[in-house]
Amino acid sequence: MLPRFELSQPQTLPEALKALAGGVGQPLAGGTNLFPDLRGGREKGDTFISLSQVGELRYIEHTDNRVTLGSGATISDILRDPQMKIAAPALVAASDIFAGAMVRNAATIGGNVCCGSPSADSVPPLLTLGADVTLASASGERTLPLDEFYLDYKKTVMKPDELLASISWTPPTPGSAHLFYKLSRRKGDAITITGISVLVEAEGGKCKTVRIALGSVAPTIFRAHEAEGMLAGRVLTSELIEEAAQSAAGQCKPISDNRASAEYRLLTAHSLTRRLLRQAWKQAS
C-alpha cells in the first residue's frame, strides 16, 4: 500500500518540464526505488510527475564518437543494446547484476543516477567513462561532468525545476579496460557493500588514461582523482598500484550499517581497487 499522492502524466518533454517548472511535484521515473521508499516512509511527496510516458527520454544513441543515453532508458535497454558491450563494458557488467530481472525492466538510468544513493550501481562505471550529464528545465539546458553532479548523501546539483535529460560519454578506446566489481552479501539482487569501477587506457606501454570510482564507501559515489594522478602516464607496477589503491581507500568515508562495518568497506575498497587496477592494466597493456 502506497501513501496517497497525485500524479500527472505528461506525454512530452516540454510538458514534463512545464509541470516541473510549476514547482509542485517531483519527477517519478521507474519507481523501483521511490515506491519502496514511499511505502516505507523514507521518502515523502504528495505530487509526482511521471516520466514513463515521455517517450523522447527513452533512447540510446551511438554517433561517431559519442554515446548518449536518454534518462528514460531502462537498465534492460542497456543490456539489450549490442554496442554497449564495447561502448561501456563496466556499465553492462553493473547492469547485468543490477537488482532482479523485473526491476531492471522498470528502473531507468536517470532514476538510478538521480536518486543519489551511494550504492547506485550504474554510477561508478559512468564516472570512470568520464560521462557528462545534461540537465533540462523549461528555461534551457546545461551540461556538466557527472563527477560534479553529486554534492552529498542523496544531494545533487539539480534544481527543483530541472530534469536529467541524458548522459553521454566518449567510448573507451579499443583495447582499454573498463571494469566493475560489486561486493555484496549474496550473488543476486543485493545492495552493494563496496562497488568499484576502473578504466585504464594504455599507450606505448604506459597508462594513458585512468579513472577510478568508488561506490558505497562515502556519502556519495566519487572519483579517486589523487590516485588517478599517481598512475597517469606511468607504467603500472605492483608497487604503484598498491600506492594508488591506498590513496583511493584514504579518500573513503564509509559508514557502518546492517550490511558491513566501515572498517570492512575500507579494507575492500583498498583490495578491490588494487585488484581491478591490476586486472585492468594487464588487460589494457
Partner: protein
C-alpha cells in the same frame, strides 16, 4: 518396532508399482495454472479488511491506549484492544495437535495490556471497509508508552539482577543429561578440546505472508480459513474466545510455505475476535515487514563442547552446554531446547556424557519452531567440533566420524536404543565421493571441502502421544477418495497420500482425489510439523487402504475361488497372482463388492509409539519414535580479498527409509541445500536492543537463483523406518547438516574456523587476515 535387516545391501522383498517412483505431484497442476487459492485469495461479499497495531518498542509499560478517534473514522467497524477481550486475554502457544497441549502450558497475551515485552507485540486490532481505512485508523491510535529496562541477551537474562521478562525468573526451560562418568572419560582421553559455537536468528521467509479470512456462518459457527500448518488450532481459538470447540471451524487451503513459522498460532485468533465483533467476514494479510514479527524466528544458540578423544580417534567423554534465547514468550522454546539437547552429540555414541541446556527469556523477538527445531543448531556446533577434533588428532574427518558413529542397537544421548538402520557411514562416504577433487587455489581464490552428518528425529515427542487419522474409500467407478485433514504446506503432503493409497489399492494416483486441510470435514491428521506428516498421515492412510484391500479381497477371494492372500491389485485390476489372466477391473470389483454389502471404505488411526518422558536427573528416556541419518557435503570457493564465499557444489546423501515420491525427496534436499546455505552465509536477523533492523526482503537476504550451486541428491533406502513402506521423515533431516557442511568447507578453505554464524564476507575476511597475522608472527 519394525524388525528389519539393516545391512546396507539388503534388498527387501518389495515390489512397488507407484511408491518410490518419480510422479508429478497432484497439487502441481492447480498451482502452475494459477488456480490454487491461498488463504489471502478468498474474496467474500461484505468483507472487511484488518490491520494490527504492533509495538514499535521492545520493552515498555503501556500507560494508556486511546482508540477514541480511530473508532469514529467512517468505515471502521471494529477496534479492539486488550480491554475488549475476554478477561483471560490469553492464547495457548504450547504444542498443538491431536491430543491437546503438551507438558508446558505456555500462554501468551492475545493483545498487550499493561506492558509490551518485544518489538512487534500486538496491541490493537482494526477491521474496516478497506486496508487503507484500517491503516488510517491504526495511525489514529495513540499509545502512551514508558520505556523500561529490558534484557537482550540470554546470558545476561540469567544474572541475578536481570529484569524479569515475565513470571518468576527468566529460565524458560532447562534439561540435563548425566550418563557414564565424564571424569573417567576425560582421564582416558589423549586430547581434550573445548570450543564455543554460536548461531544467529534465522527467518522462515516463506513466500506467502500470514493471511486468513474469518466469518461467522448461518449456523453461528466461526469459520477461519488460514495459512497454517495446524488446523487443530481451532481448539486454542475456541478456548481463547470461550467458545465450544465444535463451534470453531479452521481450515487450511494450500499454504505458501511454513518451515515451522506457521506451526504456532499466528493471526487466527485476531481474525476470530474481529469477525465475532464485526459480525462480518474479515480478511487479514500481513505485510512482509509485519510477517517478520508475526511468528517466531529460529533460536540463536550458544553451544560449548568439551570433548575427550584418544589418539586413535575414539570419543571418551563430552561435556556440552547449550543456551538458547527464547525471547519474550516461551512459545515452543522448551521443546526446541529438548531437541537440541538430544541432538547435541549428533549421530555419535558418547558413553560418558554431561549436558546442561537452558533456554532464557529476553526482550528479543520470541523465537519458535523452524525446520530443524534445535537439532539443526546442535548439529552445526557438533559437526564443527568433530572437524576440529579430527584436525587435532590428525585423522581424516570421515575416518574419525566412522570410529564414533552410532550403530543400530546403540543408545543415543538420552539412552534411547536406535532400532532402525543407521547408514551414516554409507551416506557420508557417498556424499564426499560426489564432491570429487578439490579445485586448485588461484590468485584470489581458495577452495574447501566440508562434510557434516546428523541424527534428526521424525515424529513428535513421544509423550505427546501423537496420532493421525485417515479415511480411504473406493468409489463405484473405481476411483479412490482419501480424506485426511493434513495441511499441505508445499512438500507434497497431500500428493503422497494419493501415491500411498494408490499403491495399496492398485489405482493410479491420477484417479485419486485427496480432501485435505479441513479437520471438520476430514478426519484429523495432526500437524504438518516435526517431519511427521508423511510418517503419521501416510501410515494412517496405508493402514486404512489395507483395511479396504482386505475387505475387497475377502469378497473377491470368494468370487475367484482362491484364498485372499493369493490375490493382488495393480494397474486398476484385481487378479490372481499365479494366473493374472483371472482378473477384474477395479471398477467392476467396486460394483461387485457393493452389491455384496462389503465395506469399501475405512477410517484408521495410527498411533506413534508413546513413552512417559525423561528421568529429570539423568535425562535418560525415549524421546522420539525414530531418527533419520545421512550426510551433506559441500565445496566452496573463498575470495581472499573480500571474504566472499561461493558454494560450488552441494551434495545431500540420506537414508530416507523408502522414498514415496523420488522427485519430492529431491525437492526437499535441493530446497534444504539453499536454505542451509542461507543460514551459513547470508541470513541473519539484526536486533538492536530487541528492535528488528532488517525486516524486509531487501535487507534479510535469502538465496536467489544466482546463488544456486550444483546440487546433487543421493537417496538411499534402508526401508527400516516407521513410516509407510519403511519410510523415514525427511523434511527437517535433510536440512540439518547443510549449514555445518558449508561452515566446515570454509574452515577447510581458509585454514581457520569462525565460531559465530553466519559467515558474512566481513567475518571471513577478518578470519583470513587474523590467520595471516598469526602465520607471520610464527
Amino acid at each position: 518396532m519394525n524388525q528389519v535387516d539393516t545391512s546396507p545391501n539388503a534388498i527387501p522383498n518389495v515390489n512397488l508399482r507407484q511408491v518410490g517412483k518419480n510422479k508429478p505431484r497432484n497439487d502441481s497442476p492447480t498451482k502452475v495454472y494459477g488456480k490454487a487459492i491461498y488463504a489471502g485469495d478468498l474474496i467474500m461479499d461484505d468483507m472487511l479488511f484488518a490491520k494490527v497495531l504492533h509495538s514499535d518498542r521492545a520493552c515498555a509499560d503501556i500507560k494508556s491506549i486511546d482508540v477514541s478517534v480511530a473508532k469514529t473514522l467512517p468505515g471502521v467497524h471494529s477496534v479492539l484492544t486488550a480491554d475488549d477481550l475476554p478477561a483471560t486475554n490469553a492464547v495457548m502457544t504450547d504444542m498443538p495437535g491431536q491430543v491437546g497441549g503438551g507438558t508446558k502450558n505456555t500462554k501468551q497475551p492475545i493483545l498487550a495490556k499493561e506492558r509490551v515485552r518485544f518489538y512487534g507485540e500486538p496491541i490493537a486490532l482494526v477491521a474496516a471497509e478497506s486496508y487503507e481505512l484500517a491503516q488510517r485508523a491504526l495511525d489514529l491510535i495513540v499509545v502512551d508508552y514508558e520505556d523500561t529496562e529490558g534484557v537482550y541477551d540470554a546470558f545476561d537474562a540469567q544474572k541475578p539482577d536481570a529484569p524479569i521478562v515475565y513470571g518468576n525468573d527468566n529460565i524458560v526451560a532447562a534439561y540435563k543429561v548425566r550418563k557414564g562418568d565424564i571424569e573417567k572419560g576425560f582421564q582416558e582421553a589423549d586430547f581434550v578440546l573445548e570450543n564455543t559455537y554460536s548461531s544467529q536468528y534465522q527467518e522462515q521467509a516463506f513466500l506467502e505472508p500470514e493471511a486468513a479470512v474469518a466469518w461467522v456462518d448461518e449456523h453461528d459457527i466461526l469459520n477461519i480459513r488460514s495459512s497454517t500448518q495446524v488446523v487443530e488450532h481451532f481448539r486454542a481459538v475456541a478456548d481463547a474466545l470461550g467458545m465450544p470447540h465444535n463451534k470453531v471451524h479452521l481450515q487450511a487451503p494450500y499454504v505458501g510455505g511454513g518451515f515451522g513459522g506457521k506451526e504456532v498460532m499466528t493471526i487466527e485468533v485476531w481474525l476470530a475476535l474481529l469477525a465475532m465483533d464485526a459480525q462480518r467476514p474479515v480478511k487479514l494479510k500481513q505485510t512482509r515487514e509485519n510477517s517478520f514479527i508475526s511468528h517466531g524466528p529460529r533460536h540463536p544458540f550458544t553451544i560449548t563442547h568439551k570433548t575427550g578423544v584418544t589418539k586413535d580417534g575414539k570419543i571418551t567423554a563430552a561435556k556440552i552446554t547449550l543456551t538458547s534465547d527464547a525471547g519474550a514468550y516461551a512459545k515452543l522454546s522448551p521443546y526446541i531446547l529438548l531437541y537440541a539437547t538430544v541432538g547435541a552429540t549428533g549421530p555419535y555414541r558418547v558413553d560418558n556424557l554431561w549436558i546442561d541446556s537452558t533456554s532464557a527469556a529476553t526482550n528479543n523477538l520470541p523465537t519458535c519452531a523452524y525446520r530443524g527445531f534445535g537439532t539443526m543448531q546442535a548439529t552445526t556446533a557438533c559437526e564443527a567440533q568433530m572437524e576440529e577434533l579430527s584436525k587435532l588428532i590428525g585423522l581424516d574427518s570421515l575416518e574419525f566420524r566412522r570410529k564414533n558413529f552410532i550403530q543400530t542397537g546403540d543408545p543415543n544421548a538420552t539412552g534411547q536404543i536406535i532400532r532402525s538402520a543407521v547408514w551414516s557411514d554409507q551416506c557420508a562416504t557417498k556424499a564426499r565421493e560426489a564432491l570429487g577433487d578439490k579445485p586448485k587455489s588461484t590468485e584470489h581464490t581458495v577452495y574447501g571441502h566440508g562434510l557434516a552428518c546428523y541424527q534428526q528425529s521424525y515424529g513428535r515427542i513421544r509423550w505427546m502421544k501423537d496420532t493421525s487419522e485417515s479415511w480411504v474409500g473406493l468409489e463405484m467407478d473405481g476411483t479412490l477418495i482419501v480424506r485426511c485433514a493434513v495441511t499441505d504446506i508445499g512438500a507434497g503432503q497431500m500428493s503422497a497420500l494419493a501415491q500411498i493409497a494408490g499403491e495399496v489399492l492398485g489405482v493410479p494416483m491420477e484417479e485419486i482425489t485427496v480432501y485435505f486441510g479441513d479437520g471438520h470435514v476430514n478426519p484429523l491428521a495432526g500437524t504438518s510439523t516435526a517431519s511427521r506428516a508423511l510418517y503419521m498421515t501416510g501410515k494412517a492412510t496405508e493402514l486404512a487402504a489395507k483395511n479396504v484391500r482386505n475387505n475387497l479381497f475377502e469378497c473377491m477371494a470368494e468370487y475367484f475361488d482362491v484364498r485372499p492372500e493369493e490375490l493382488d491389485l495393480g494397474d486398476s485390476k484385481v487378479f490372481v497372482q499365479d494366473n493374472p489372466e483371472r482378473c477384474m477391473s477395479v471398477k467392476d470389483m467396486a460394483k461387485h463388492c457393493a452389491a455384496q454389502g462389503v465395506h469399501r471404505h475405512s477410517l484408521e488411526i495410527y498411533r506413534a509409539p508413546p513413552s512417559e518422558g525423561l528421568d529429570p536427573e539423568t535425562g535418560q528416556g525415549e524421546v522420539f519414535p525414530d531418527f533419520t541419518y545421512g550426510a551433506h557435503a559441500a565445496t566452496v570457493a573463498v575470495d581472499t580479498d573480500t571474504g566472499e564465499v561461493t558454494v560450488i557444489k552441494s551434495v545431500g546423501a540420506h537414508d530416507v527409509g523408502q522414498s514415496i515420491n523420488r522427485q519430492a525427496v529431491e525437492g526437499q534436499i535441493e530446497g534444504s541445500a539453499l536454505m542451509g546455505q542461507g543460514f551459513a552465509l547470508s541470513e541473519e536477523l539484526i536486533l538492536e536492543k530487541g528492535v528488528l533492523k532488517n525486516g524486509s526482503f531487501s535487507e534479510y537476504l535469502i538465496p536467489t537463483s544466482e546463488d544456486v550451486p550444483e546440487i546433487e541428491s543421493i537417496i538411499l533406502e534402508s526401508r527400516s523406518g516407521l513410516g509407510p513402506f519403511g519410510s523415514k521423515g525427511i523434511g527437517e533431516p535433510v536440512f540439518s547438516p547443510v549449514a555445518a557442511s558449508i561452515v566446515n568447507a570454509v574452515a577447510d578453505a581458509i585454514g581457520t574456523r569462525i565460531h559465530h554464524l553466519p559467515l558474512t564476507p566481513e567475518k571471513v575476511l577478518t578470519a583470513i587476515n587474523e590467520e595471516k597475522t598469526k602465520e607471520a608472527a610464527e
